[in-house]
């Protein structure tokens, strides 16, 4: 009999060609999480250098207090979607805090960052519309496109001239939504937003920027790359997540469009998901306030990023991009990448192993993400582990 799982044969085979000795990324269990930067993995004290916890707020006392208070006062969950019984005063306060952060009129909160992209893209782009996305877009952007009825097309990654050319090919009069990310999560490369904004303005296209990895690290108030590049007021839709710098889970969209509120009755992923629990809403609101007002985490994060980027560069590793809170070490040989990842873990350093097809240009990556909560000593330990790995493997050098 035909098996529904037959289609996974290729994936299973690919999975089986990865040769791990003791452990592999799919078996990693955080047995005890000690702090934003340390956990016990397989009984061993490990420095976490791949958790997207950029601001290090997961154990911040202000966020924990807010969450605990909300848990006690409002219970464990809302048991309903935003359009039924799931809108509490706190959900509105969180949306007001996000709108305030981005100096925009409206904000809508979703139950995950993935849902924010699904919900916004599928609601905004209809049958006669065109969506043009950066080729290296996150899975949630691709799937949001898939959920819409629009015509989907791509432009070359971070190439504003290519975007301009492709927008020019379209028939005048078609409504176009361009979607990019502020900081790309795999290689840690930043979008040239000023040029992308210019191309969108030239062709009358709407622009959505996903600041999932850049909320926190970039901008004078941590809003992201659009603010850092001085073009925030020219972006039509900012999308983001609470699961990275904000330290919890959830997603959002902020916009100045006068009719934005109608999306609450048109976005199915918004309407048919249970709303975020009060404790999550409370810690997110507290974290957004910290990101906006306290520059210390942002400064510490960049100090750490610079230390790691400079150290790895000095060792001769080939890195994915200029310094950012995401630092990807490119390894030519997949088996060397797999072995190096395991050796780093053995040295007490957790990073992300990222392999094709999840990576751009078929690269094998040892992907590090920094946190404001890392100490300079921890960065030294990460560097020492990479140095050991380099010396025990014929890791390619630039």
């Amino acid at each position: 009999m035909a098996d529904l799982f037959d289609k996974f044969e290729g994936l299973t085979n690919l999975r089986n060609t990865l040769v791990f000795e003791k452990t592999d990324p799919y078996k990693i269990v955080m047995e005890d999480v000690i702090s934003p930067t340390e956990a016990i993995i397989d009984g061993k004290h490990t420095i976490l250098a791949g958790t997207n916890n950029y601001m290090g707020l997961t154990f911040d006392q202000r966020c924990i207090d807010a969450a605990q208070n909300a848990l006690t006062m409002s219970g464990t969950g809302t048991t309903g979607s935003r359009v039924l019984n799931g809108t509490y005063a706190a959900h509105r306060e969180l949306e007001a805090a996000i709108a305030d952060l981005y100096c925009m009129e409206h904000a809508m909160v979703f139950s995950t960052g993935f849902l924010a992209n699904l919900g916004m893209i599928s609601a905004l782009a209809g049958k006669n519309d065109i969506i043009m996305i950066d080729a290296d877009s996150h899975a949630s952007i691709y799937d949001g496109c898939g959920l819409s009825d629009a015509t989907i097309t791509r432009f070359r990654h971070n190439d504003a001239a290519d975007l301009d050319k492709r927008l020019g090919r379209l028939n005048a009069g078609r409504r176009v939504l361009v979607i990019v990310e502020g900081l790309y999560s795999m290689l840690g490369d930043k979008a040239p937003l000023a040029d992308i904004v210019a191309a969108c303005k030239k062709h009358d296209a709407y622009l959505m920027v996903d600041e999932a990895h850049s909320l926190g690290p970039y901008g004078a108030n941590g809003q992201g790359v659009a603010a850092a590049d001085g073009v925030l007021d020219q972006v039509d839709f900012i999308v983001g997540t609470f699961s990275k710098s904000v330290g919890t889970v959830g997603g959002f969209c902020a916009s100045n469009h006068p009719d934005f509120e109608i999306l609450r009755l048109a976005s199915r992923p918004y309407m048919f998901s249970a709303s975020l629990p009060p404790s999550v809403v409370a810690s997110a609101t507290a974290a957004i306030k910290i990101i906006k007002e306290d520059r210390t985490p942002q400064q510490n994060l960049w100090r750490n990023a610079k230390q790691l980027h400079a150290g790895l560069t000095e060792m001769g590793f080939q890195l994915g991009a200029d310094c950012s809170p995401v630092i990807a070490v490119l390894i030519d040989d997949r088996d060397v990448a797999v072995r190096s990842w395991e050796q780093l873990l053995d040295e007490g350093i957790y990073v992300n192993l990222a392999l094709p097809p999840a990576t751009p240009q078929n690269t094998n990556l040892l992907r590090c993400s920094l946190s404001a909560a890392h100490t300079p000593d921890q960065i030294d330990q990460i560097l020492a582990a990479f140095d050991k790995v380099k010396n025990s493997n014929s890791v390619n050098q630039s």
Partner: protein, 84 residues
């Protein structure tokens, strides 16, 4: 108007960089089975065709295009619509 055989030749030429097994490409050549292109390579190939013919090929139509002949037919249609 471009003839189908010229289109086929042009598309085969654009496919060559993706033909890692150096097989002989014809209209019946399948992307998944014969050329063993993964989804990323298919999309890069689409970008090459878009630039060569100065057209837009929606990602939406890709799941239905399994072999080179089907791509040629789709591109022919789009080129006619775009450039008359």
């Amino acid at each position: 108007m471009t003839s189908v055989s010229t289109l086929l030749d042009a598309i085969i030429k654009l496919l060559e960089p993706f033909n890692s097994k150096s097989i002989t490409i014809s209209g019946d050549t399948s992307f998944a089975h014969d050329l063993e292109l993964d989804s990323l390579a298919v999309m890069d190939f689409v970008a090459e065709m878009e630039d060569h013919f100065d057209i837009m090929i929606p990602l939406n139509i890709l799941p239905d295009l399994e072999n080179v002949g089907q791509i040629v037919a789709a591109v022919e249609k789009i080129v006619e619509q775009a450039h008359g």
